[in-house]
C-alpha cells in the first residue's frame, strides 16, 4: 500500500527518472545526453561536487581528444599543442565566465549557490566536449582530405557552434531549475561566453595551422583574424 501523502498544491511531483542515480564516468555521460534534468537534480544533492568533478574530467578528456583530431591536420608540434590549447582554452572560457554567470543568476532572483553554478558550467563544458568528440570522425576525414586551413576552421567552427547550442539548452534548463525569473540575463551571458570562446581561438592560435611560435606574437580581434585568414587563403588559391 502506498503510504506517501499526496503532493501539496503547487508542489511538483518529482520525476523518478530525475532521481535515478548518476554513477561513474559512463553514467554521467549517459545522464548528460539522455536525462540532463537528472544531472541538474543531482548537482544539488550530496555528492554533487563529485558529479561536477566528473563532468570537468569529461570536458578535459573530451576536449583533448577532439584536439588530437584538430592537430592531425598539421601534425608535428600540433599533435600535442592543439589538444593542450583546446582543453586549456575551453576550461579558461568556463573560468572567465563563471563569476559573471553566478552574479547574473542571482540578479534574476535565483537562489543558486556558487557550487551549483560551477556544476552547470561543468555540465556545459562536458556536453560540448562529448558532442565535439562525436563529430571527431567527420572532422578527421576532412582533416586528411583537405589542405585549406580556412575550410577546416569553418568546419570546426560549425561543430563548435552546434555543441554550444546543445550546451546552452542544458544551461537554460539549469537556470530555470535554479529559480531564475527572467531569461534576458542568461542570453546576455551566453553571448559573452560565445564571444570569449571565439576570441580564445584567436588568442591561442595557431590551433589548426602552423606557426613559428606556440602562441601568437600579434594581438588581434577574432573577426580581424578571420578576415586576414580568408584574404591569405584567397591569395594562395590556385588560378
Amino acid at each position: 500500500m502506498n503510504t506517501e501523502p499526496p503532493p501539496l498544491p503547487g508542489q511538483s511531483i518529482p520525476d523518478p527518472t530525475e532521481a535515478a542515480p548518476v554513477a561513474g564516468v559512463g553514467g554521467t555521460l549517459e545522464a548528460l545526453l539522455r536525462r540532463p534534468r537528472g544531472v541538474l537534480h543531482h548537482l544539488h544533492e550530496p555528492g554533487g561536487r563529485r558529479l561536477t568533478g566528473l563532468m570537468l574530467l569529461l570536458a578535459l578528456v573530451g576536449a583533448a581528444a577532439y584536439g588530437l583530431i584538430v592537430g592531425s591536420f598539421s601534425g608535428g608540434l600540433q599533435w600535442w599543442a592543439a589538444p593542450l590549447k583546446i582543453a586549456g582554452g575551453l576550461s579558461l572560457c568556463g573560468l572567465i565566465c563563471l563569476p559573471s554567470l553566478y552574479v547574473f543568476a542571482c540578479l534574476t532572483g535565483s537562489t543558486a549557490r556558487f557550487t551549483d553554478v560551477l556544476g552547470m558550467v561543468a555540465g556545459l563544458l562536458a556536453l560540448m566536449a562529448v558532442l565535439l568528440v562525436s563529430f571527431g570522425p567527420v572532422a578527421w576525414v576532412f582533416s586528411q582530405s583537405t589542405e585549406s586551413v580556412v575550410a577546416m576552421g569553418l568546419l570546426h567552427l560549425v561543430f563548435w557552434l552546434i555543441a554550444t547550442l546543445f550546451g546552452a539548452r542544458f544551461m537554460h534548463q539549469g537556470m530555470a531549475r535554479l529559480g531564475a525569473r527572467s531569461e534576458g540575463a542568461f542570453y546576455f551571458w551566453l553571448c559573452l561566453f560565445v564571444v570569449v570562446a571565439l576570441q580564445m581561438t584567436t588568442a591561442l592560435r595557431p590551433i589548426i595551422g602552423t606557426a613559428d611560435t606556440f602562441l601568437p606574437t600579434e594581438k588581434k580581434f577574432f573577426l580581424q583574424h578571420w578576415g586576414d585568414s580568408m584574404r591569405s587563403a584567397d591569395r594562395e588559391q590556385p588560378q
Partner: protein, 237 residues
Amino acid sequence: MTALVSPASPRQLPVLLRGEVAPVRSWVAEGNLARVTFHVAVILAGAGIYGAAIGLWRSGEQGLFTAVKFPLILLLTTAGNALLNGVLAPLLGVNLSLRQASVAILLSFSLAATILAALAPLVLFLVWNVPPLTSPAVRDAYAVIQLSQVGLIAFAGIVANVRLLQFLRDLAGSRAVALRLLIAWLAGNLLLGTQLTWIARPFFGSPNLPVQFLREDALRGNFFESVLYNARRLFTE
C-alpha cells in the same frame, strides 16, 4: 531567514544581488558596525580587483595604482555625500536617518563592486587580447578599453541603483517618492563622484602620458569643464 545572515558573512552578497528587500531593510535599520566594515571590505576588494584589471593594460604599476584609487572613489563619494544624502531623505519624504541613508548607499556601492569583481576576469581577458602600447593600433586599443569600461561600469551602476530603488520604494510606500529621492542622491553622487574621478586620474592612462598615481595637475580644472572644452573644440574646429 536571510535577514539573520551574520554581519560579516559573504552570504549577504547573493541576498543583495537578488534584491531581497526585507533583509536589506533590517540591515539598514540596525546599522551594525561589523556589517558596515564588511561592505567597506567588499568595495575595497571588488572595485580593487576590477581597478587592477583595467590598469594592467598599461602596466603592473598602473594596475596597482588603479586598484587603490577606484575603491577609494566609491568610499569617498559615500562619505563626502553622507550629510547631503541624509538630509535629502526626510526632505523628500523617506523616513531614513543620516546613518541609515549612508548604509543604504554603501550597500548599493557594495553591490556594484560585487558585480564589477565578477566582470574582472572578462576585463583581464580583454586586456590580454587588445594590442599593447607598443603596437601601431594603440589608439584603437585605447578606445576599445575606454568604451568597454564605460559599458561595464554603467551596467554595474544601473543594476545597483535599480536594487536601491526597489528598497526605497518599499520603504517610502510610493514609487514616485522613491524615484525622486534616488534621482536626488544620484545627482549628488554623480557631481562628487565625477570630480573625484577627475582628480584621481589616470586609471588606465592615455598612451602618450606617463604612468602616475595622480597627474601633476590633478587639482586643476574639473570634469565638466573638460567635457565642455572638448565639445566646443569638436564643433568649432
